[in-house]
Amino acid sequence: MYGQKVMDHFANPRNVGEVEDASGVGQVGNKKCGDVMRISIKVEDGVITDARFKTFGCGAAVATSSMATEMVIGRTLEEASAITNTAVAEALDGLPPEKAHCSNLAEEAIKAAIEDYYEKNGISVKSGRKGCCGKCRDIGGKGP
């Protein structure tokens, strides 16, 4: 069902845990939907120097979290903010169609962590972040 790269990131996830004294933390998803992703980042001089994740979710959710942390480390906040769900999925050589929403979650988690950093530093930003994949309304949740 999953490709080799997804299975590699699921079986050997990179950067599991929490960054100590994190500059920003973003938690997205909904436990009711079975997906919660938390990414914490360390920011120095506008560059993400460390990123860690904790994820409750399926194989794709774990793999996209792992890949997302790898993709943001060493990037400027602007570069990291521009990472899209498609880019995360592509970096994993693709996801099964029914798992595409898991990559949305990874993009959301990165953006949430960056937004948290901005807020903590008194920088006002407007983002189009939804907070989760947006499908929970279908199962009776409150939605984003």
Binding site: C33, G34, F56, G59, A61
Partner: protein
């Protein structure tokens, strides 16, 4: 030959499907390319096929305490459920359009009820208690003057709870309402005697009891009113059209004959292995829930829910450790909702996402249970360490 299977793996997904017994396969083989004639034909190979089909019908009937002419072979358990429900509801149209089932049925039943609702029937879905048990008194209260059919599964495929089918059947018989039971998980695993059980229709499937995929049967008690479902030829006493799946039917007969003879012994053996799994997991993993009834359950089913972790991840790690099992998580159900059965017994969504079903067969061993117990605590701990849930 290329390896396509799971050689060397521990297969713990027998409520999904089972391995074909070697004796069953052997019994089927002549009917593919030797006695391959159409069972409706008058010449030799057709007559041989007809004889084999009727012999299988006799074996199936004997195994469940039915008369052979009350057994109609179908293409699968799902077809049996669809036919029983659609057929009885339509045959009862003159009396009324109210039909009753439960919240924990297989989708073969639930979705058939939903389809009938779209046709203008009114359906009642009965709740279950926290163990998944249906209260016969709830059935009694749900039956109205215009109720024509009640369908309650014999044993639940996810959590293994065995329903009080005798009592529910009596309620229906007293009220003059047709009673169907989806016994796909029960036939071949539990002793069933339809000569004593007040059931009008019962669905079964061969591949759950070491028979082949692609063949089921519907037991229809003599006198039960049911419309046709498959239209065409005059097969199965003009009730179910379609050329008989002769090798499949032969395989079903052999499989059920073997299973019925083995029920007491194999049932005890599987129950002991399940008990060891439950006791072993409960003793080594914190925050785990046993789903289903503690005693009234299938001898081959264990269903556990692990808090703070998600089922698909659990299955993938188990598979990597050589163990094949299943889960009721949304990711494995192909929808966003976790299993409707786990929600119906009252589990919160996030806990239902962390369920694990381990289901055994007569081939399962205590050694396989120990292999599971060896890896499971570490896998759960690893996923929990990764989980952001408190």
């Amino acid at each position: 030959m290329a390896t396509v299977g799971s050689e060397g793996k521990v297969y713990f997904d027998n409520n999904a499907t089972t391995k074909v017994d070697g004796a069953v396969l052997e019994a089927m083989i002549p009917y593919f390319s030797e006695a391959y004639g159409n069972a409706s034909a008058v010449y030799g190979s057709g007559v041989a096929a007809r004889g084999a089909v009727e012999a299988a019908r006799g074996k199936v009937a004997a195994a469940v305490g039915a008369n052979p002419d009350e057994i109609a072979f179908t293409g699968c358990g799902t077809e049996s459920d669809n036919w029983a429900i659609m057929g009885a509801a339509r045959a009862g149209r003159g009396k009324g359009r109210h039909i009753v089932t439960t919240a924990i049925e297989h989708h073969a039943v639930l979705d058939t009820f939903k389809a009938l609702e779209k046709e203008g029937y009114e359906a009642t879905y009965l709740p279950v208690d926290r163990y998944g048990l249906v209260d016969p008194d709830d059935v009694r209260k749900a039956i109205r003057g215009d109720t024509t059919l009640v369908s309650v599964m014999y044993a639940n495929n996810e959590i293994g709870t065995v329903e009080p089918i005798g009592e529910i059947g009596e309620v229906c018989a007293r009220k003059g309402v047709t009673f169907h039971t989806d016994a796909v998980q029960a036939v071949g695993t539990l002793a069933i005697d339809l000569s004593k059980l007040p059931v009008d229709m019962l669905s079964a499937s061969a591949h759950k009891l070491h028979g082949p995929k692609g063949v089921g049967f519907l037991y229809i008690r003599k006198g039960t009113k049911i419309d046709k479902f498959m239209h065409g030829g005059g097969q199965e006493r003009r009730r179910r059209a379609g050329t008989e799946n002769v090798p499949g039917i032969v395989g079903f007969g052999k499989a059920l004959e073997l299973a019925a003879a083995e029920i007491p012994r194999k049932g005890e053996a599987m129950r002991a292995i399940c008990a060891r799994i439950i006791e072993g997991v409960m003793g080594s993993v914190p925050d785990v829930i046993l789903n289903g009834h503690p005693e009234r359950r299938l001898p081959n089913n264990v269903n556990l829910a692990f808090r703070r972790i998600e089922g698909e991840s659990l299955l993938l790690l188990l598979d990597m450790a050589g163990i094949e099992a299943s889960s009721g998580s949304a990711c494995t159900s192909g929808s966003l909702d976790p299993s409707h059965v786990l929600l119906a017994v009252g589990l919160p969504h996030e806990v239902a996402h962390g369920s694990l079903r381990v289901s055994l067969s007569k081939y399962s061993t205590m050694g396989e249970a120990e292999a599971l117990l060896k890896v499971l605590p570490g896998i759960v701990a690893r996923l929990r360490a990764m989980s952001p849930l408190p």
